[in-house]
């Protein structure tokens, strides 16, 4: 009974006269929502619509006004050659683009997977009672608090093959047989980017998972303890299922972020085709190359791909964001 809200339903059989209270609340809701909606429309909606519009034109950044409508030309167009063969062009058949998509998706999934596992470990540690927990908790938040642009530079410094401390450390500990040029070669560039990203965002993941962990009532574990359930089994049978909702939400927020990854890669390995992501490629086309329309098409595709992946994830994972309908 207590969960029933004040608000009356407007779907069926609306009351003849809306009560003062309802009117006041609806009026207030409208008043409260309008500033936010206006802000979002201006700051996000309109620019996005422009991007989508430009993706259907031949716009050039030096002359946006002269943009001509070209339909789906930026996405796919074809010419029939004299021999009769058909030649397809455009974003949808651009191998460099699909390479970037693959890089992005691979990056997103690997990094988020690692972050989820490591975040879980860190969260479990932080959830335990021990001396100095406060300090540890603050310490793990440091990577997350450092501006990306700074940490990217810090790591590029540490990953340097000649005077980078990581190679030195690896050599000293005998983990590396020779100095590795982390960001240089195609094989290790992605690894380097992953290391930095995982380092940087695991704390955030850990924090969200920790929040979920702390909502699990302690007596469940006490009961399990009395029943003699092995700790490992406790984790899989109790902790994991109960923390799952928090984990799912944390993962989706991170996934959204990872799919848009830009600054880290832009600073660390801006031109390596092994790490070039959709955002980096879109920037390159929008601003470096004279292909504003093509870049806009990439931005639009990027947005679409993220949206589709999110929907699939929400659907498969049955993530409920609003805690049911109320």
């Amino acid at each position: 009974m207590t969960t029933e809200t004040l608000a009356s339903s407007t779907r069926v059989a609306a009351p003849k006269v809306k009560s003062e209270l309802m009117q006041q609340r609806i009026r207030a809701a409208r008043l409260f929502l309008i500033p936010m909606l206006v802000a979002l429309a201006v700051v996000a909606g309109w620019p996005l619509l422009r991007s989508i519009y430009f993706s259907f034109t031949d716009a050039s950044l030096s002359n946006l006004e002269a943009a001509q409508w070209v339909g789906f030309g930026n996405y796919l167009r074809w010419t029939v050659m004299e021999s009769g063969a058909v030649r397809y062009r455009g974003l949808l058949v651009d191998p460099a683009w699909w390479n970037a998509v693959w890089n992005t998706v691979r990056f997103a999934f690997i990094s988020v997977a690692f972050e989820a596992v490591l975040g879980m470990v860190v969260a479990l540690v932080l959830n335990a009672e021990f001396k100095g927990r406060g300090i540890v908790r603050a310490a793990i938040l440091i990577p997350w608090a450092i501006p990306t642009i700074v940490s990217a530079r810090m790591w590029s410094w540490m990953l340097n093959d000649q005077f980078g401390i990581l190679n030195d450390l690896g050599m000293r500990l005998g983990l590396l047989s020779q100095k590795v040029a982390w960001t240089a070669t195609a094989d290790t560039a992605m690894t380097a980017v992953l290391i930095v990203d995982i380092w940087k965002t695991t704390p955030f993941m850990a924090l969200l998972i920790l929040a979920g962990l702390q909502m699990i009532p302690k007596d469940i574990y006490e009961a399990a303890e009395i029943d003699g359930v092995h700790p490992v089994k406790q984790f899989f049978k109790i902790t994991l299922p109960l923390v799952r909702p928090a984990l799912m939400v944390a993962i989706i927020f991170r996934l959204l972020d990872a799919l848009r990854i830009f600054d880290l890669i832009y600073v660390l390995t801006p031109n390596s085709s092994a790490t070039k992501t959709m955002s980096v490629m879109a920037r390159e086309n929008l601003f470096d190359f004279d292909k504003f329309a093509y870049g806009s098409a990439m931005s639009t595709m990027l947005f679409t791909i993220i949206a589709v992946l999110t929907i699939v994830y929400i659907w498969l994972g049955q993530v409920r964001f609003d805690g049911g309908d109320r």
């Binding site: 620019p47 996005l48 100095g132 005077f163």
Partner: protein, 281 residues
């Protein structure tokens, strides 16, 4: 029996603390190394040390005296603070409407807001630039505050909405019976109950605004309006290709320390804020 039990316990604790130490070292080491580097200069920069070998604050003096860095620091503080206040203000009222008033299209609205949080910044950069010029706020802190709402607002609205939804309905009803208007309910009843969530989201928004680079670079065209991340990117050696690692690390330390302090102060609140509202599945 007792002896083996203690031994086992000892091993467990040792392993646990090794894990804790490992986590701390991995988290802190790069920052430690940055501090170490910030005390070095010249060719010493290219030599690898694990412990402080020299201690010179030259890089810090350089950074703080270099043109407008202190000014940029103030800009960052202003921009980030106003962004947070504005985002919290817009979000707290909006989330009241979203969490507490049932109306047609509410679910759709929430999804739209989530949608905004998945906008790639790159996709809106050019359009946003047009809007900012049209509004005449280009090259002012307001351009940054305005553009930052694109990532702070959806997030704050989401967290506060979930949080507010979990506040007991009866408290609000008691206030209604007491004659409180929605505005009074928000400001005098809900806000005091939502401090953890406000602190958490506020801090997250603050960090987001504080660290943002792309918009800050694009929407300012003047040393006096720029923020710290841009200033760091602008720190330069004496010649074109020379990268002043010492100065950059010093600046990075200066920029990061306030955040670390904020995190230290609010770390308890951050967790409880997220516990109470942020991540309800």
């Amino acid at each position: 029996m007792g002896a083996t039990f203690n031994l086992w316990k000892l091993i467990k604790w040792t392993l646990f603390y090794i894990l804790v130490t490992f986590i701390v070292v991995v988290s802190v080491f790069p920052f430690y190394y940055a501090i170490l580097t910030s005390f070095k200069s010249g060719t010493a920069l290219f030599q690898i040390n694990y412990w402080p070998t020299s201690f010179s604050l030259d890089n810090y003096f350089n950074v703080l005296n270099s043109g407008s860095f202190p000014r940029n620091l103030l800009n960052s503080i202003f921009v980030a603070s106003v962004t947070v206040i504005l985002a919290l203000f817009l979000a707290i009222t909006a989330s009241f409407a979203l969490a507490r008033v049932r109306f047609r299209g509410r679910g759709l609205l929430l999804l739209t807001i989530l949608g905004v949080s998945m906008f790639p910044q790159m996709a809106v950069l050019a359009g946003l630039f047009e809007v900012i010029r049209a509004l005449g706020i280009y090259n002012t802190p307001w351009a940054l505050i305005f553009s930052y709402t694109i990532f702070t607002l959806p997030f704050t609205v989401w967290v506060l909405t979930t949080f507010m939804r979990d506040l007991p309905v009866e408290i609000e009803e008691a206030a209604i019976v007491d004659g409180a208007t929605p505005w009074v309910i928000i400001t005098r009843v809900f806000m005091p109950l939502m401090w953890p969530a406000l602190v958490t989201t506020g801090l997250l928004a603050f960090i987001g605004a504080w660290n943002e680079f792309l918009f800050a670079l694009t929407f300012t065209a003047n040393n006096d309006t720029r923020t710290v991340p841009v200033a760091i990117a602008l720190l330069s050696g004496s010649t074109q290709y020379e990268i002043p690692w010492g100065n950059i690390m010093a600046a990075s330390v200066i920029v990061t320390v306030p955040l670390v302090i904020l995190v230290l102060i609010f770390q308890r609140k951050i967790v409880s804020g997220l516990t109470a509202g942020g991540v309800k599945g």
